[in-house]
Amino acid sequence: MTTLTPVTSRPRALTFGNVWLSVALVAILFIYPFLFGKTLNFGISTLLFAGFAMSWNILGGWAGQTSLGHAALLGIGAYAMTLLATPERLPPFLTSPLAPWWGALVGMVIAVAVAAVWGWLTFRLQGSYFALSSIAVALVIRLVAINAEWTGGAEGLFMPELPKLFGFDLFDRKVEYWLAFGFVVLTLVITHLIRRSRMGYALQAVREDEDGARALGIDPARMKLLAFMLSAALMALGGSLYALYLQAFEPHTILELPLSIQIALLAIIGGRTTIQGPLIGALVLSIFGEVFRNVFSNANLLIYGILILMVTLFAPNGIMGLFQKAGSKLGTAR
């Protein structure tokens, strides 16, 4: 029989609280550049990783499929935008102020296509098998990027000079902050919409009990595939923005397994069954990461390891799960 998690059976009042939590988080992110204008780099990377984690979560949280290969989709977005932003590769009528965004769009389309084939092949595998196969698929994509010529090989790519977007310089950190901010708001809104849609309920049913969901007339493979394609599109869009932010990147930084793992862990530590969990996870871990970078230099993933171990052992629903537990205790006390 279907076991309902607190998320699916949460009373309506708390769901409204859920929306307010998102609004509050967005408000904090909105005023950030006015308060901490000097640390925009930190703000941008935090926002981008929050967006990655929320995109991952559409598949990893709502559909319950732990992908350890999402960096590949991010990489597709980054490569597509950078390659198509080079004027020589484009017909002249496309080198308008919108030029780089055609590349981002193409990246999203490719990522969706890759996810469709990838998911179609691997969603027959259960649990850890899917996680294993996602590593393999991502590694194959990484090998292509390293060895092909048009990808710039192991040296990677430089973002060329870009036309101004309505007078805004895309290499200006402020502009990049607002783009990343827009990305986070977009993923947050989409997640909220999914949560309340038919698809959202179907996904949660599949996550909790695949056979039960099938008995209700839901096609689990199709649902997972839809979630994966949506997740891939957002991931590729984020990848394009990441390429803008980095300005130069190589396969070793943008397609590597640790990046995939990092993205997944942000969502899981924050709480994968909730909407804001991945956002909270990214905010908390960015701050931790920044603090520990000074202490541990390049061993800053140590904190991820310790936190994921703690979360797995003591708080299986992540940081948001702890909040909810505290919240429901308050609720019953009233």
Binding site: L125, V140, I261, G305
Partner: protein
């Protein structure tokens, strides 16, 4: 085929089989753990890295012969595995499937980053004269250290087999793998058995690390490269199937060597990955397992 081409083929084959033996050793630990506990150990490559760094540290400090490090690395690996199963994984209870994936990922990050703090990110190697020695057998060149590694693999796996099929402990392990509850009812302390199995699995990874050290550079995240090899080996052979792991290792080594020689060396790692995906999709029970009846 002319003589040169034949020799080149056998050269590639021997190279592949010897490398494959090492892959088999790494995969055996992983497969044993899966067979008994039904969990996939994502930190397996990092345990291998521990073996490599123990060898490196002992060589630097005492100029100790790398193969003597086995006497240190194997017990350390065993104790580490025992403690981790007892005090971390055993606590996951009924969340073992997904929980073990995340917990071992976390452990792996802790290990690799601790090694990074202790030893730095620079690739390091040890210099022993016989590591670069080779000898010729029927025109085929064989590296001495690769041969030693191959022999070590055969010894370790044979010892494991003896324990599994000739001792009381082995009976208890097999019983725990088949039916933990039934074994417990027969007086087997399954929690202890599972900790022993995890310990043995980890020590196999550490032993593989020691055997690899004279051949390769090491760095704190070296495990990443090998954990995927271990996954490939176990899936090729069938998860939890020990003879399968040996065969899977040899197959992987040979596929890589032949692909690198006859197709392109740049895609060396891709051949194994593609074979892995194909087997995962078409024959999840592994190349050599009994066909599982599908529902």
């Amino acid at each position: 085929m002319d003589q040169v081409a034949v020799t080149a083929f056998f050269q590639t084959l021997v190279q592949g089989l010897l490398t494959g033996g090492l892959y088999a050793l790494i995969g055996t630990g992983l497969s044993l753990i899966f067979g008994v506990m039904k969990i996939i150990n994502f930190a397996h490559g990092d345990f291998l890295a521990i073996g490599m760094f123990i060898t490196l540290a002992l060589f630097k400090a005492f100029n100790l012969d790398p193969y003597l490090s086995l006497l240190v690395a194997a017990p350390i690996g065993f104790s580490l595995g025992y403690v981790i199963q007892r005090f971390v994984l055993a606590r996951l209870g009924d969340r073992l499937g997904e929980g073990s994936l995340l917990a071992t990922l976390g452990l792996g990050l802790i290990i690799s980053n601790t090694l990074l703090l202790g030893f730095g990110a620079q690739p390091q190697s040890i210099n022993v004269p016989y590591a670069i020695n080779t000898f010729k057998f029927a025109g085929v060149q064989v590296s001495v250290s690769l041969l030693i590694a191959g022999l070590g693999t055969v010894l370790a796996i044979s010892a494991l087999n003896l324990v599994l099929y000739r001792t009381e402990l082995g009976r208890a392990i097999r019983a725990t793998a088949q039916n933990p509850l039934g074994a417990e009812l027969q007086g087997v302390k399954t929690s202890n058995i599972q900790a022993i199995v995890f310990g043995v699995g980890v020590s196999f990874a550490a032993i593989a690390g020691v055997l690899l050290m004279p051949l390769l550079y090491t760095f704190p995240t070296v495990g990443e490269n090998y954990v995927t090899k271990a996954f490939i080996v176990t899936v090729l052979g069938g998860l939890g199937n020990l003879p399968g792991a040996i065969a899977g290792g040899l197959v992987l080594g040979v596929i890589e060597s032949l692909g690198a020689f006859y197709v392109s060396n740049n895609y060396r790692d891709a051949y194994g990955l593609i074979a892995f995906l194909l087997v995962l999709l078409l024959r999840p029970e592994g190349l050599f397992g009994k066909t599982v009846k599908r529902v």
